[in-house]
């Protein structure tokens, strides 16, 4: 694992997917992560809707970044985001009405997803259009992946299905609690536990090599 240079386009894109994953590492955007991930299809729709809003907002915010006065920048970002969320909301309603119904109020709540505002403030408002879009794509993909991970665990355990296809045959007793609200908290808590366990193992594994080879720096 060689340290990646910060300024390359690949770095902009890849950063959000794993090393700075908005959900798993930065703990942003918890509400949708927990609320809509009781099935893989819902997770995918939510992830893609957020990805669309994130990329479009980053593109627009980055394009107008020299025109917006500093005092009203947050208001401007929020209005831009709200516009794209309205578009996403109406599109979902027209194209996949059942999923739109399942997601309920959470499509509208993309407006207050902190990941989107955070990327505008921290990245899109300071970088050229190309890099901002790449950054948004990476972060959106990272968010979608985290949602899919949650959704797969919860759908497989909670209903015994994956994307609606039964996996285990008729004798499987669904672990219903994972499809219900407590399952969201428990799944994400367990995933975070697992991640910090891996992180600690890596740090440990790196420690003995101090004498000979230079140790890898713990992330």
């Amino acid at each position: 694992m060689t340290p990646v240079k910060q300024a390359t386009p690949q770095a902009d894109l890849i950063r959000g997917i794993w090393r700075e994953n908005p959900v798993l590492i930065q703990a942003l955007g918890m509400c949708p992560t927990l609320a809509v991930t009781n099935s893989v299809a819902n997770s995918l729709a939510m992830g893609l809707a957020t990805l669309f809003v994130l990329v479009s907002s980053s593109f627009l915010v980055s394009s107008v970044r020299r025109l917006v006065p500093n005092e009203v920048r947050i208001t401007t970002y929020v209005l831009i985001i709200a516009t794209f969320v309205t578009i996403a909301d109406m599109t979902l309603q027209a194209v996949v009405p059942t999923i739109h119904k399942a997601l309920g109020a959470f499509v509208a709540l993309i407006v207050v997803n902190c990941i989107i505002l955070a990327r505008q403030e921290a990245f899109a408002s300071r970088h050229p259009v190309g890099r901002s879009v790449l950054d948004a794509l990476g972060m959106g993909a990272g968010f979608t992946l985290a949602l899919l991970l949650m959704g797969s665990v919860r759908e497989v355990l909670g209903y015994g299905t994956f994307l609606g296809v039964p996996l285990f045959g008729p004798n499987f007793e669904p672990w219903v609690i994972f499809a219900l609200p407590p399952g969201g908290f428990l799944t994400l808590g367990t995933i975070l536990l697992f991640l910090s366990w891996i992180k600690r193992r890596r740090t440990r594994a790196a420690a003995p090599s101090v004498a000979g080879v230079p140790a890898r720096k713990a992330a």
Binding site: V112, I177, L186
Partner: protein, 192 residues
């Protein structure tokens, strides 16, 4: 009247905003370290929820029938301005309270519970009083969840928790158990 009480109970415990609907998780995870701050945060949120409910009712009645596509944008603008006004009024009337609430007040703008309330109220077509009771119930539920969480976290500070579980993971697992307990309230509505 019975209808209004059920709306209140439903919003406060059965469909608790934080533990059942996952709204307002940021303050739930961020500022639930101390019982006192949790209480203040809950009170500030309840106040803004009630004001938002009234404003949303006005918007739904007078403005949005004409321009339905402006729904989200008008909600978010109204919430942002409301929080700003509340901040100014409190600062003028009671500087002590203003200092006590500190940074939490402006952060309420991006709390999804507020926008969530606005959207739910619209989707369920609540009238003025129903909306008001819904807002008070939601605020009470938020405060309850925050205070419960803060009390548990104060106790866990003295407990020997494994290293890897410290921080967000622990909070989420506790929240999972709390949410499990709140599921028990679901029986309240089905027997009614």
């Amino acid at each position: 009247m019975g209808d209004l009480i059920w709306i209140f109970v439903s919003a406060a415990v059965v469909n608790n905003f934080t533990l059942m609907l996952f709204l307002g998780l940021c303050p739930f995870i961020g500022v639930s370290g101390r019982v006192e701050t949790a209480l203040r945060m809950g009170a500030a949120n309840t106040f803004v929820l009630v004001l938002t409910s009234i404003a949303v009712w006005a918007l739904n009645t007078f403005v949005l029938p004409v321009a339905p596509y402006l729904r989200l944008i008008s909600f978010i603008v109204v919430i942002a301005s409301l929080v700003q006004i509340v901040e100014m009024v409190i600062k003028k009337v009671s500087p002590a309270l203003f200092r006590a609430l500190g940074i939490y007040l402006p952060l309420i703008t991006t709390n999804c519970a507020i926008l969530g309330l606005a959207v739910f109220q619209t989707n369920r077509a609540y009238d003025f009083w129903q909306g008001l009771f819904f807002a008070i119930g939601a605020g009470a539920g938020l405060t309850l969840a925050l205070v419960l969480m803060a009390s548990i976290r104060e106790s866990t500070e003295l407990v020997d928790v494994p290293d890897i579980a410290r921080g967000t993971a622990l909070v989420l697992l506790i929240a999972g158990s709390l949410s499990l307990a709140f599921m028990g309230f679901a029986g309240l509505l089905s027997t009614a």
